[in-house]
């Protein structure tokens, strides 16, 4: 079974993000970048499926600028077999990303597609669901457990009230939540080996896609900061403040 994993290059989750003063966006220049954490988890899941003899080939795909190849090399070092880079300088919205991935699916015919549940840059939480719709495939979002037997996948999903278990007939699209697994680190030998794994580069023109321009980000601004508070000396003072200053306790 072939597995396709979509990976996005984002600002490292532990970097302090700053907004450009002209409101044009978030400053990415010189920022430390990383594979979107949820996508790392999705890829780890694919690798575990391969180790279990269920997956036969893992393809990773990323859409982004030239630097995106660094993220793909990392994915190859973790254990993916081949990478597809769709090279573009425009920041695509989930609908466009889903359409690009849809094309790749038509070419590669994977049985399982794994994505992250959300990109920590855009926080959209859309792409997997959109791709599933374009394919008319079953979907399982926010998964924290996956077991596959023949063409049936059993998943556990994290939902607001607790957990949900579903079974899906493959092919299917799934999005990874944080507790699905702990992604591995790539070893030095595997980083070396990854340099020779296949990485193909496509452009949006190659895919013959006309994408909509009906979603425009007009400004990006910093959030209103909270005014720093005070350190209190003891519990009695806290209770007093909550009652008489903040008036949130009666």
């Amino acid at each position: 079974m072939k597995v396709l994993v979509a990976v996005k290059r984002v600002i490292d989750p532990y970097v302090r993000v700053r907004v450009a003063e002209d409101g044009s966006g978030v400053i990415t220049k010189n920022a430390k970048m990383a594979m979107n954490p949820f996508d790392e988890i999705a890829l780890e899941q694919a690798i575990q499926l391969k180790e279990a003899g269920i997956a036969t080939q893992i393809i990773i795909a990323a859409i982004g600028n030239d630097n995106t190849q660094e993220t793909l090399r990392k994915g190859l070092a973790m254990g993916a077999d081949k990478a597809i880079h769709v090279n573009t300088n425009s920041a695509l919205q989930p609908l466009a990303v889903a359409k690009v991935l849809h094309k790749i699916v038509s070419d590669e015919q994977p049985q399982l597609i794994l994505l992250g549940k959300q990109s920590i840059s855009g926080d959209n939480n859309q792409t997997g669901q959109m791709l599933a719709a374009l394919l008319d495939w079953p979907q399982a979002t926010f998964i924290s457990d996956l077991a596959i037997e023949a063409d049936i996948a059993t998943v556990c999903r994290e939902i607001d009230g607790g957990l949900e278990t579903l079974s899906l007939t493959l092919p299917a699209v799934m999005t990874a939540d944080l507790r699905l697994n702990e992604p591995r680190y790539a070893s030095l030998p595997s980083i070396m080996k990854a340099k020779n794994k296949p990485l193909s580069v496509l452009t949006l023109e190659d895919l013959k896609l006309t994408l909509k321009d009906t979603y425009k980000v007009t400004t990006v601004s910093p959030p209103v900061a909270r005014t720093p508070g005070v350190i209190l000396k003891d519990v009695a003072t806290l209770i007093d403040k909550l009652k008489h200053e903040a008036k949130v306790l009666s």
């Binding site: 997997g128 669901q129 979002t141 607001d160 009230g161 980000v217």
Partner: protein, 310 residues
């Protein structure tokens, strides 16, 4: 122009998220319809008919919607989208699961997690874990939006009863089967809607110690929340997680206890009215966001607090 809202409910009752979404919808159009999809959920439709600002309630009540699976629900909503300019749902795991599927079927974008509506096509939403706010102009002919509940007030009961229209579309979808749901039993108010939230982090050390927070929550009639670290370590169930990838809460009073204040946690609670932090590390980032801080051992401070509130 008109709006259709996909209602979140548990077949018996409407979820408060739906009522927040109704408030957002009223800023977009005068005609707001609510779609209730489920099985044996007439009571949900009846609740919604009484809400102020609801024009009519559409009820799709069939066994095929029993588990509110994304695939059939999305198809149903898509079938009825033709009559509406806006399609809305709460930005909860329920709405997030279904709405992008509907948007892609309509070949339109979705604008996720909206916190403000500027005009008919301009919306504000947080990105980068709330480190930035993005203003988006969406000019698609139909707009699919998910609404952040904490940013919009709860719609109230009105004096009239809206019409209830039955929809009998049956959608056959065999490729996904529901096996089970394990819902966390709550003896306390629900995290997303509670007035007071007491959250614990890795500093609590184990599940047993969370009982301390339960005692405190009991005194305050509060819900219990947690950081990701506390959930990952198995101290509490996954649905307690507050943050970028968990729940977003904005109670009147939020306690962060033994939580360092990572930006991903802050993303889920920084709109709380008053924040109290208890941490032994005076340099912990959480103190930059807290209105009131106590520096010290939580195992000494929390029992004192419980005593003082008794």
């Amino acid at each position: 122009m008109s709006v259709i809202i996909l209602a979140e409910h548990n077949h018996g009752h409407c979820h408060p998220n739906t009522l927040h979404t109704i408030t957002a919808a009223q800023q977009l159009a005068a005609k707001v319809d609510v779609l209730v999809v489920g099985f044996q959920c007439q009571s949900v439709a009846d609740e919604l008919r009484l809400i102020e600002g609801v024009n009519s309630v559409l009820l799709a009540d069939s066994q095929c919607y029993n588990n509110q699976l994304a695939e059939p629900v999305a198809k149903l909503l898509h079938n009825h989208a033709v009559h509406y300019t806006y399609l809305l749902a709460p930005a909860s795991t329920f709405g997030k699961n279904i709405m992008p599927r509907v948007a892609a079927m309509l070949d339109v974008h979705q604008v996720s997690d909206i916190t403000a509506i500027k005009d008919a096509q301009t919306f504000v939403r947080p990105i980068y874990a709330g480190n930035a706010l993005e203003t988006v102009q969406c000019t698609d002919e139909k707009k699919v939006l998910t609404i952040r509940s904490t940013a919009f007030a709860l719609a109230k009961q009105g004096s009239q009863q809206a019409a209830c229209v039955t929809i009998d579309d049956v959608i056959d979808w065999q490729k996904t089967r529901f096996i089970k749901q394990t819902l966390t039993k709550l003896e306390r108010p629900e995290l997303g809607v509670a007035d007071v939230v007491v959250s614990g982090g890795r500093g609590l050390q184990n599940a047993e110690n969370f009982k301390l927070l339960e005692q405190l929550a009991g005194k305050l009639n509060a819900a219990i929340g947690a950081s990701r670290a506390a959930v990952d370590a198995g101290f509490v169930p996954n649905d307690y997680q507050v943050g970028q990838t968990g729940k977003v809460v904005a109670p009147r009073l939020y306690f962060a206890i033994g939580i360092s204040g990572a930006i991903q946690h802050i993303a889920g609670m920084k709109d709380s009215k008053v924040i109290v932090a208890i941490n032994q590390d005076e340099d912990a980032a959480i103190f930059n966001y807290a209105d009131y801080g106590l520096v010290g051992d939580l195992f000494e401070i929390v029992p004192e607090l419980i005593k003082a509130l008794s």
